[in-house]
């Protein structure tokens, strides 16, 4: 399953348009990302940041254009995807099993996100910021090449933000790709930022 040695991770979104319902959400969008890139996807609410991430994740079909990705992808969005009744450790272990990851990888991810103290607490008791950290820990556990993070800084205190920055920088340094969708600038240096505008109304 691990494809780190295999071809380098890359994303190539070419002239993509997306119609959702009757609405044109994205139009003529072209994005390329290579190994080591950190991209800040910025723009106002409803401009299609989440749509772009879901498109790259393969969860949405483009109405026109093409998308090619190389490497395994992990997504952390508003949906936690962790069982509310399980402890943080067990909920993460479920995805570790799904990804064929080891218990060590999960423990390391818990440590990276400073969640060891909460490992035995059921997910449903976590606060907003703690949930965010847990979902980032899920991404860390997955050992994916491409990280798609949707508003990862929401609800995080400054110490947690610094931890996240560190994890993102480290991932890019080892050849990964990180896309951060956020309305506010992340505190780290970004390779380049991608500004999404609302397409005009002439659908």
């Amino acid at each position: 399953m691990s494809s780190r040695q295999a071809p380098l991770p890359s994303i190539s979104v070419d002239n993509v348009a997306v119609i959702r319902g009757n609405r044109l959400v994205l139009r003529g969008l072209t994005v390329t990302a290579r190994s080591g890139d950190i991209i800040w996807v910025r723009g106002a609410n409803g401009c299609g940041k989440s749509t772009l991430l879901r498109l790259i994740a393969g969860l949405l079909h483009a109405t026109a254009g093409s998308i090619q990705t190389e490497g395994r992808i992990a997504l952390a969005d508003e949906n936690l995807a962790l069982d509310a009744n399980l402890t943080v450790a067990k909920a993460l272990m479920f995805w570790a099993d799904m990804d064929g990851a080891s218990a060590d990888a999960r423990s390391a991810a818990l440590a990276d996100m400073d969640l060891q103290g909460l490992a035995q607490v059921p997910v449903r008791f976590l606060s907003t910021g703690q949930r965010k950290r847990a979902s980032i820990a899920r991404v860390l556990t997955s050992k994916a090449d491409i990280w798609l993070l949707d508003e990862p800084y929401n609800g995080l205190d400054s110490a947690s933000c610094a931890r996240l920055d560190q994890a993102i920088t480290a991932h890019a340094a080892t050849g990964g790709i990180v896309l951060v969708a956020a309305h506010q600038p992340p505190s780290i240096n970004v390779a380049h930022s991608l500004i999404l505008d609302r397409p005009e109304a002439d659908a």
Binding site: A81, N85, F94
Partner: protein, 215 residues
Amino acid sequence: MKAFAALVAREVRVAWTGGGLWLPVIFYLAVATLFPFVTGPDKALLARTGGGILWIAALLATLLPIERLILPDRQAGILDQLAMRGWSDELVATAKIIGQIFAFALPLLLATVVGSALIGLPEAQLGTLLLGLALALPALSGLSVTIAALTAGLSGASALGGLLLVPITIPLLIFGAGTLSENPGNAMQLLAATALAITALSPFAAGAALRAGRT
């Protein structure tokens, strides 16, 4: 394979911790208890109609888990995460159906022993009833996952689910009740054929429904 087993185990665990495992069983026995109030406690009448009553109760119990089968997983992003890991919708549906066989079909089969005692079913018929339900319950599990995928997130999902499920289960009910009648004929073979066909097709139907329901 390990991942598939983990997903099936998760289905059973979610049913267990969410109380979804006991609810259909208790409902099943409660419906079976209602019928004697309607027909009167006449032993002969109950023995004659009791098997059919349990069949109807089993069909109705199928409706109970529908709301918790797909929608919570879709809302929590679990289905998205599985899709990103290359799981086909059919495979997810298969895991959910197998999970339902453990978390719904087996407990209901055990409860049938209690239910048939309540209704005073002749002991000779208990074996036939258990065999018939053992054939039909996997098919009902498949149908409940399919209907859950069709109605996930729609307003009035549970009433809608009932409206969709009832006509489709009529063949199972006819052949199932037929196995208990005085001249069963080839009812058991027909039940087996119908139930196996529905069980085998349901992962594809449920998978297509999951795909169609993704907005």
